[in-house]
Symmetry: C2
Subunit: 200 residues, 2 copies
DNA sequence: ACTAAATCAGACATTGATGTCCAATGTCAA
DNA sequence: TTGACATTGGACATCAATGTCTGATTTAGT
């Protein structure tokens, strides 16, 4: 995460919340993320149960299911964005940097892929793209840097490369989940395939 | 499709249905496929409306929603399987054969990807794999033939290659849908990326 | 033309989920 | 410690969807 409690999001200047409220909001958000990852149709009751609160408490902080989904989406995105940032996509050779970033992000990305799937039907393509910005703005410079250096293929757009990478990451976590490959095998195979797909 | 009405599926020996019933079953199945492709949560009422029948008629042929989903899944699979077969995956050089098959199947595959998504949460991985057999049994020999010839990479399993190919096809149809690429661009980009990903 | 099969139109019961409300109780912060 | 904030537990209304049933009507097969 990046802000959530530390800053009041400069523009909105939200009224201070009590500590237990803050705690519950966090619990609900993470519980929702877990619940929705295992079942995209998880009910508000199920989410409340997981968060250890009563249903009314969820509605206290998230007036509708939609608003909770929005919050969960933003939270998941921030987790992936933070993992990406932590892998320093700007540092070093593009190829090494990409490997570093993929290794750091494939697990959260895989974990949240089904949550992302919820939004595919819920939001427009434009809106979806907008919400992925915290992640994509970090990937694009890395890919373009590699393209400029002739290390990544330039006959397709960086956006295509991103889509392909994400798809391969998805395959990787699916194969791990299915137990067809070990974690180490998945990581090595994923890196090999990813590089092969985007190298000229 | 392959059988549906011509053969009585040797084992089951189903009682003959009247022609209008047969017609309605077909109408319901295709209507359901369309409806579910655009909205995976489409209701029985919506599907009946699209098929031009009343809801009770749907329940006449498909006693539960589940059973309808099963039928739709099988239908979609058969469409892809037929398209694959029509592209003659056994003929010619593996690379050319793969290109031929991909060009023949990427559109139906993309179209039905969301329907497939329904089943991901609905069925076990094993069961899912079993239902894809009509397609995978055609792809595996092609890929293994290419691997034996040293044209496709052998450091990963044919199953991994299939998963990667399907992921790339999915990316392709998503990009077309989003209007970021023309159909011709999508096809060329998809083929390039697919080959790059699975070539040693 | 006759009969059996199938569809229609619509009512009906049931279920599960969303969202609202309230009174009682608990917890935080000043 | 006190008042404001928050949570609880439960009731409640609403809604949409599933699945059943029936009687009247249409349609197909022989």
């Amino acid at each position: 995460m990046s802000k959530t409690k530390t800053q009041p999001t400069k523009a909105s200047a939200r009224k201070p919340r009590r500590a237990d409220a803050e705690r519950n909001i966090a619990a609900i958000t993470t519980a929702a993320l877990e619940a929705l990852a295992s079942n995209p149709d998880a009910s508000m009751a199920e989410i409340a149960r997981r968060a250890g609160v009563v249903r009314a408490t969820v509605y206290m902080h998230f007036p509708t299911r939609e608003s909770l989904l929005d919050a969960v989406m933003e939270y998941a995105t921030s987790l992936v964005a933070d993992a990406t940032r932590g892998a320093e996509p700007e540092r070093g050779e593009p190829k090494e940097a990409l490997e570093r970033v993929l290794l750091a992000t494939w697990q959260p990305l895989g974990r949240f892929h089904s949550v992302l799937g919820i939004n595919i039907s819920r939001l427009s393509a434009k809106e979806l793209h907008r919400r992925h910005l915290p992640v994509t703005t970090q990937f694009i410079p890395l890919l373009e840097r590699g393209q400029a250096a002739g290390i990544f293929r330039s006959d397709v757009s960086a956006l295509w490369l991103i889509a392909v990478l994400r798809a391969i990451v998805h395959v990787a976590s699916t194969e791990l989940q299915a137990g067809r490959l070990s974690k180490a095998e998945v990581e090595s195979t994923m890196l090999t395939t990813a590089l092969a797909a985007i190298t000229p």
